[in-house]
Every structure is written in C-alpha cells, then in structure tokens.
Symmetry: C3
Subunit: 259 residues, 3 copies
Amino acid sequence: MTVRTTLTASLIALTSWAADAQQPDLANRRLTPEDVRRVAPALEAYTQDGLYGDVWKRPGLGRRDRSLVTVATLITRGQYPALTYYLGQALDNGVRPAEISETIVHLAFYAGFGNAFGAIGPTRDVFAQRGIAPDTLPKAAPTLLPIDEAAEADRARRVGESFDAVSPSLVKDTTEVLFRKLWLRPDLAARDRSLVTVSALIASGQVAQIPYHLGRAMDAGLTREQAGEVISHIAYYAGWPSAFSAMAVAKTVFEARPK
Amino acid sequence: MTVRTTLTASLIALTSWAADAQQPDLANRRLTPEDVRRVAPALEAYTQDGLYGDVWKRPGLGRRDRSLVTVATLITRGQYPALTYYLGQALDNGVRPAEISETIVHLAFYAGFGNAFGAIGPTRDVFAQRGIAPDTLPKAAPTLLPIDEAAEADRARRVGESFDAVSPSLVKDTTEVLFRKLWLRPDLAARDRSLVTVSALIASGQVAQIPYHLGRAMDAGLTREQAGEVISHIAYYAGWPSAFSAMAVAKTVFEARPK
Amino acid sequence: MTVRTTLTASLIALTSWAADAQQPDLANRRLTPEDVRRVAPALEAYTQDGLYGDVWKRPGLGRRDRSLVTVATLITRGQYPALTYYLGQALDNGVRPAEISETIVHLAFYAGFGNAFGAIGPTRDVFAQRGIAPDTLPKAAPTLLPIDEAAEADRARRVGESFDAVSPSLVKDTTEVLFRKLWLRPDLAARDRSLVTVSALIASGQVAQIPYHLGRAMDAGLTREQAGEVISHIAYYAGWPSAFSAMAVAKTVFEARPK
C-alpha cells in the first residue's frame, strides 16, 4: 500500500470504532419515565431517592469528583447512551471540557481504544450543544509536565525486572507511551488521572492493578474517605460485586500505608 | 437548582440510561438464519442441536430456572437484543411478569444501574405484546418479607468488622439498601433472588463473591445438581472461561458444606 | 409445542442475538476524523502514530496474526462497529474467510454465543462486499482432524477428577462438544485456535485459564516473542490492565516451561 492508501485506511479504522455511538435519532429512542414504570417502578424510586437523593449528595466526595468517576465508569463499561446526560452534568459540576477530553484519551489506554472512540459521539454532541470550541481542548502534543525522574526510574526498574523477559514491548510502551507521555499531559491533574484510572480498574473488575494505582492516587492527594466513597459510588454504576472486590483490595492498600 | 429542575434533570438521566435499548426498527434489523449460514453454518447447528436440542432439555435444572438464569446473564452482559426472545420464553416457561420486574430491579444492584435500565426497553415491548398491565407489577415500596434478624446481624457484623474502616458508606448501603430492603421485596423468592445473583456473578467473572451467594442459594434450596447445571448453562451464554472459573469456586463451596 | 413451532421459535432466538449488529445505516453513522478532533485530538495522533504507525508494524508478530488477535479481541468485547474495518483488514493480511468463520464459531464457546451472533452482521457485510461465497466456508459438520487420544485422555481425566462432582455436564460438554469436536474442526489450525482462545482470555480478563491455553498455544508453535507481542497488542484494544494481568500469568507459564 502507498502511504496515502494506508492513511485513508487507518482513518476509516479510526472512525469505524464509534459507528454505533453516533445516533442522530438518539432523542427519539429515549425511554420515558412511563416506560420505566411499566416494567420496574422500584427502579425509578431507587434512582431518584437512593442514587440522586442520597449517594450523589454524600459529603465524602465532591460532585465534581463523582462526575469524573461516573464518566470514567460508563466509558470503561461501554455504556454510551447514559454518557450524554452525565457529560452535561460533569460540565455543570465543574469538570472542564479539557479534562473530559483528557479523560477520554487516558481511558484509551486504561479501558481500550474502542471504549475511547465510543465516547467521541456523545461528547462531540454535548460539546456542540454547549458551544465548546475545539481550540479550547488539549492539543495532540502539548508541553508535558516535568517528570519525577527518581520515582519513574524506580517504577520502570521494578516492572522491567519482572517482565522484560515476558513482553518487552509492553514494558517499553508502559514507560515511553504511558508514564513519560500520557501521564505528563498537563490538562488533567495527576490526582484526577489516578482517580480516572482507579475508577476504570474498579469498573472493569481488574483488581490486580488497584494497589499500585490507588496508592498513586493517595500519594497525589486522594484521601481514604474519598477512596471509600469512590468505591461505594461505583457500586451503583458497575454493580455491588465490582465494589466489594475493590473494597477488599483497598483494605490491604490502606493497611500498608502509614497512617 | 430548584427542586423542580433537579427532578427534571434526574428524569432525563433516568431515561437516558436506556437510549439504545429502545429500537423501533428492531424487527427490521434482525438477522435471518440465511445470514448466519452465509458466515458460520456451524453456529446454527451448535445453537439448534447443542444449545436448544440438548442443554435446555437437561433434567438437572428446570426450564423456568434456565430462563431466569439466561435473562440474568444477558442483562449482566448487556446483551439486550437477545433479551426480547428470552423474556418471551421466560414467560412461556412460567416466570411471572412480577418476577421479571424484580429480577431487573435486583440486577440494578448486582450488575449496575445502567444494565437494569438497558433491560427496560425490551421488557416494556414484551409486556405490551403480552398485554401485561403495570398494576400487576411489584410496587416501588411493597410490604417487605420478615427478616431473619440473627442471620442478618451476623452478616452485617462480619462485613462491618472487615470494611467499616475502608468504605463505611458501602457497608451501610449493603445493610440498609440491600439486605434490609431489596432482598426482602416479596415478588421474587429468596432462592430465585440468589439464583439471579449467582448468575450475575458467573456472567461478570466476579468469582470472589460466589462463595457467599452460592452458599446462600443452597441454604435457600438450590441443590448441588442444579448449581452444577447453572454453571454449564451459563457456559454457553457467557463463554467457557466464566463457567470454568465459577466451577473451581463452586467446588470449594460444595466441599465446605455438610453433605 | 410441536417440533415445527419449536424450530421456528429457536430460529427467532437464533437471529435475535444479533439484532443490533445489522445496521443498514452504519455508514451514515460513522464518525469523521473531524469528530475525533472536536473531542480529543490526541486520540487521533495516538491511533495513527502509536497504534498503526508502531504497534502494527512490530516484527515480533506478523500482521496476519495481529488481525486474528484483534478480531478475537473485538468479538470477545462485543465491539462490533470496529469489526467491519478489522475484518476487511484481516482478509487483506491473509486471514482466509474460512478462518474468520471458524474464529466466530470458536468464540461462541470461549466468549459466549451472543458475542458470536453479534459478529454475524458485520462479517456477512464484509463477505458480501468481497464476493465471498458461502460454499467456500466450513460446513456445519466437516471431517474432523485426528485426535491425540493420549493427550486428550489425560486432559479429560484431570478435569474429571477435579470437577465431575461439581458440574458433570460442563465436564461432559468440555470433552464431547469442545475437545472432541470444536477443536478438531479442520479450517482453523490448532495454533491459530489457541491464539484466538488466548486472545479471548486476555480480552475478557479471564486469567485463570491462561496457563493451560497459553501452554497449549506454545506447544502448537507460538513462540515466547509472539506471545509477548500478543499481550502488548491487546493492551491497546482491551486496555493496559488486561494486558498487565495477562503478562503476570504469562511469566509463570514461561518460567515453568523448558527453555
């Protein structure tokens, strides 16, 4: 293939990711509250009274953080229809458009490229409705934040010692693409990037990586109380089993940290 | 925001969950058997002969239970298109509309609220086709079943001792929202509620909670033979790996119980 | 029900699986590169430069294998919109139509029947566009490859000893439906069947079965270098957490094998 043909093909691939996320007739296909009542009246009550009336108002975690956690959970689980509402709510709660953009980019790596592309359609619609211009969004290659060379060298050494003989390219990409590039993009704070990552891990049942990333989130300022609220918040969006598995791992993380 | 605005916003959120589950042109988009033959003729044979001709007819688990297990598995995995057929079949096999309604409410907590809302559209359609009136469905706040205070206090104490210092709100909601409310709703028997929960755990690969819930299911009357058939049934709907992981855990549960 | 009625009902069930995968207006709903730029310009750069410009060109795993791994990953994760592009690319990269057909049949068992049916619509479209005739595809019941009776007897004995008392029907189906039938279908080589299986396990986070199937893949010719590249390739399509969990298990597999 010529370079031109390759580029055309990969643009098709790029856009094909999200074919089902762009739904011009989305509004017409929305369920009404009456539909919910015709099937499960209790579901409406649990949503209004329990989820919106209680969980979202708990003081242990701010509404902005809850929005970021919810958006990350929905993208990780591929639940794009609800995303339109929660993206609008995230903006209302103080998440900046640039932070939403970076959350999607971040989740390409922590939930899969397909999940990130699935979020493009709903986000484009919400940004358009709000008049959010593309020039306010993070560039493809911004000036990166300074790196903590000692900490990163230590991380890279430990991962390399364990896994250089297993998947050298994953070890290399983890360093060069993730920790020396993605994590240093300036438009999502380190603490928020960790919050998004931990949410993705809980929402996808990937508990094995929770200790590293929850520790990193707490190093960046996430408190124990906030971490506990993140878990109970995600219980509603990803199910109790995911939250219970995460709570068991969080316990070991809390106990291993200095008070 | 005023109360009114908040309510409107949350009704939008409520209904936005299931935007993609309501498909007016669903029938027109169905694949024909000829489509399957044009891609994978063996898939038709495995479905007709293996799945419907053998698995569904095995005596170890009744067709009603298999319907409940299948519906729970599909909702947990977000596979709504197949749900329309399996909901109709569930009604034919003796699952009552009120039990389907409660299964959806139950799975809001064990598979995630988005998954429950995803089931609303197909269920509304099936209920409408069958002339099932909303007044036959469980109310939002029915008279609850009596609770086994000793057993619940023991469960709450053990969970609290382990996790009060990790996620106090998850511990609290587990007691107040789940075990003192959801599990006592009268229109789904304790044994069936456990069957739905275990199916959700297997279907989502959340093996860590299987021991508690499988034990609870067996306390409520699920036999070993039935549990074994639940696992092999779900193998077809959620894949062999989910079933094998569940089988390994079920073995430890069986061995720890008195014969 | 009469036999005729049963057959009709199950044909409806058969086709209802994939209702949302058949999208006549798929092309109109595609996102444009401009849509991606309006939300996350970096996502386009990471896709073009990182994924297509680097990962897909790495020498450790051929493009044909990468296509097979990607298609298996997307089907396992239910990401059908991207499948259309990647199926065409798989054919361009040397995957035969019969191999794609067998991959779908294989994944019915390793990712779930619903996932296999979800792949029918996009595959039918791609086959139709390429003029691939149904008579070139594997039959429902082809002449099977010879079996290694000693190895299969050993596998069956070990599984039976552990699990005959837990789920006898799953043990039986694993032998009779999978290892004495599915795995012996001739149109997907043993090594490729293992490659598809391992990809499904990584993509669904089912690490517990990776040791057996990765060992089997390597017995059939998959090299360590290729296995390591499979893991880093899937990192992009299913997220870093899935890949890291798989890498930890692969390490134990590599260390337990003779050099």
